[in-house]
Amino acid sequence: MTMLSKKSLLNIADLSPEEVMQVMETADSFAHISRREIKKVPTLMGKTVVNLFFEPSTRTRTSFEVAAKRLSADMINFTASSSSLAKGESIMDTVRTILAMQVDLLVVRHSHSGAVKMVDDMIDIPVINAGDGKHQHPTQALLDLFTIKGRFGRLKGLKIAIAGDFLNSRVARSDIMLFEQMGMEVRLVAPSMLLPEDYSCYRVENSLEDVIEDTDILYMLRMQFERQDRKLYPSVEEYRRFLSLDSSRIRRMKKGAAVMHPGPVNRGIEITDEVMGDMKSPYDNVIIEDQVTSGVAVRMALLYHILG
């Protein structure tokens, strides 16, 4: 069992490429456990993991909970709204209270960039960043990578186009770093106002039309019209025209190409209803549910490498 070189996972850059591959391998074997009839192993019996969420989340929180429980760890959810804990003192007080209960690991999400590092700096037990503001979401990047590896059997040389709001996306910040590190060719698709100022080092396209026929993977970011500090993008109609995936576009994608999204999808904005389908997408290129399944395996692997 290899431990990771850092006690906590705050930033995807905390992991070396070797450590990333190690996590992928471990996740592979844990993925098998989730396919068994008895989906539980005693690996982390007696360990206590706390989901400390200062920002509402269902998917990520549940994914960590399932992962911890399949490893037989005790999982406690602590959800506090950022507004009732507006002052930094209160974040610290909350963490102190939880630490006093002698827990073993914190999974932390907060709506402010840097807040998870602030928690980690205060304490000795490991912390996993489940998303901090617009900064990082390392476990999402790892589960995305695991999904891609599972689908394509390789990473090096794969062409991935990431489309949408880079300015406000912690997923993009982690994904770009990890995908490039693993030898994938990353292109960004976004209009000027959804890109940070200094993205000149990346290949940037302005419309899906520029990448649709040529990419192995199309990764759609979540567009949050309601969360923008300034009203940046003119309209949903404009977004649909240049940046959303509809059936005519998906049909022009390369054979075997994949469509990914960190979820939840804004139907009719990033991806049309038609492409999403009812219970299942009519297009087998859409592997969004695979990402969710991968999430459990990858988070099991991380808990195992950090706590095991």
Binding site: H112, G114, D198, Y199, R230
Partner: protein, 429 residues
């Protein structure tokens, strides 16, 4: 308390000449009695003798940008605690900003600051607000405020967004012969911003403040000053563009001066990687290229003064996330060492040039009779050890607040003695 002090064997910087004079400084009854080689005054026990071999002796510094937080935020700093912090930093004259509560926009409030500032050992001059309540809507009674002792006018912390109002303030200020000290910020660009917009804001996911926030307003105010003939002073420059614009404006004869903080000279935005909120300041600490341009602006004489922009905040206001933390760092106690380390040690600026930017330079801009060491003048002097280095430690801070961006830094230029009005007011422990 000694009424006579002799400092022997010092490298004496008089605040004006670049080259030091090697010799003795004799202080008697609050005044500089003599500066000469080997002054012999006998061996009376009533004289305090200080051996300054290898030390720098310079005029007490003049910091033209300090937030004393009094009245209104006395839990952060009071006039007394701010003065003690200044003395620990070798500062014997300072201009304090009017963004207190209430705002210094009425003569009686200036009187309060002036009264409370007496007998602190530091000459404290208030700047008065340009607009009532710093709201940027109506001009203050600038004439009455000037008569009540305003040493300048400033809405520091805020910019006057309304260009016409700014123009009228500039025109009227000419009648009172006091500088307008301008904090430049274009709110469309700075709104919700936390740090410099660039590589680090991008990778850290922190909202950025573009250089254009500073540059647009500085450009506007240069135009307004050219048109109105006002005497303007742009405070805390942070961008390369602003240095270039001001240099050009000076060449064209606009009556403009400017200053830079010690922290903008010392740090660049790579410091943000730590997510340390001590680096959350306004204007933001910008890129390495901007920092380099500021340093060059000091060296080529475009920049007229170095300031602390001492901005005290409580630990609870800083020990939080970047979004929630207050803007500002304290700086009185590290003003000299931080600027000496970054300019004289780092970039080879002659110490005498730095001394004038911290003494006679700002004194001249504000019309203060201070910032020089001359026979027959008030004895405000500082002795500095520029030989070794020291580490800035939180527990050594004198100010009531401890939000220093310099904690943990190794600096050169420790203040050993501060003499104000002929008396030793600070002695390093």
């Amino acid at each position: 308390m000694y009424s006579r002090i002799i400092i022997k064997n010092a490298n004496i910087f008089d605040g004006i000449k670049t080259k030091p004079f090697k010799g003795d400084l004799y202080i008697k009854d609050g005044m500089v009695e003599d500066i000469d080689e080997n002054i012999d005054i006998g061996d009376s026990k009533a004289i305090r003798r200080i051996d300054a071999s290898g030390m720098m002796v310079m005029p007490g510094m003049v910091d033209m940008h300090v937030h004393l937080r009094d009245p209104g935020f006395e839990e952060k700093e009071t006039i007394e605690s701010g003065a003690a912090s200044a003395l620990a930093g070798g500062i014997t004259t300072m201009l304090c900003m009017p963004n207190t509560r209430p705002v210094l926009d009425e003569p009686a409030l200036l009187q309060y600051v002036i009264e409370r500032g007496r007998n602190t050992g530091v000459r404290i001059y208030p700047a008065a607000a340009m607009t009532r309540g710093l709201e940027g809507r109506e001009m203050t009674s600038m004439g009455l405020l000037a008569e009540a002792g305003a040493a300048g006018f400033s809405d520091d912390g805020m910019a006057v967004a309304d260009a016409r109002l700014m123009f009228e303030i500039m025109r009227y200020s000419r009648q009172w012969k006091k500088p307008l000290i301008l904090h430049e910020e274009e709110y469309g660009f700075s709104r919700s911003g936390l740090v410099h917009e660039g590589r680090y804001s991008d990778s850290l996911g922190l909202e950025g403040i573009s250089r254009l926030s500073d540059d647009l307003m500085i450009g506007r105010d240069i135009m307004l000053a050219r048109e109105s003939g006002a005497r303007i002073h742009i405070t805390h420059l942070s961008t390369k563009g602003s240095v270039q614009m001001i240099k050009r404006a000076k060449d064209e004869g606009v009556d403009i001066s400017c200053d830079v903080t010690a922290h903008h000279l010392f740090f660049d935005d790579s410091c943000l990687k730590s997510f340390n909120t001590s680096f959350k300041v306004k204007p933001p600490i910008r890129s390495a290229e901007d920092r380099q341009a500021l340093i060059e602006g000091v060296i080529d004489g475009t920049i007229d003064a170095v300031i602390s922009d001492h901005a005290p905040h409580l630990d609870t206001e800083k020990n939080t996330t970047f979004s929630l933390a207050q803007f500002g760092t304290i700086g009185l106690e590290t003003l000299f060492a931080a600027s000496y380390t970054s300019l004289c040690r780092g970039k080879g600026l002659q110490p005498g040039k730095l001394v004038s930017l911290l003494t006679s330079g700002p004194a001249k801009l504000l019309g203060f009779d201070a910032g020089t060491l001359e026979k027959g003048k008030r004895a405000d002097a500082v002795m500095v050890d520029t030989g070794g280095s020291y580490k800035v430690r939180k527990e050594d801070i004198v100010s009531k607040s401890r939000n220093s961006a310099f904690i943990g830094q190794e600096l050169q230029g420790r203040i050993i003695y501060t003499i104000s009005n002929g008396k030793i007011m600070y002695e390093s422990g």
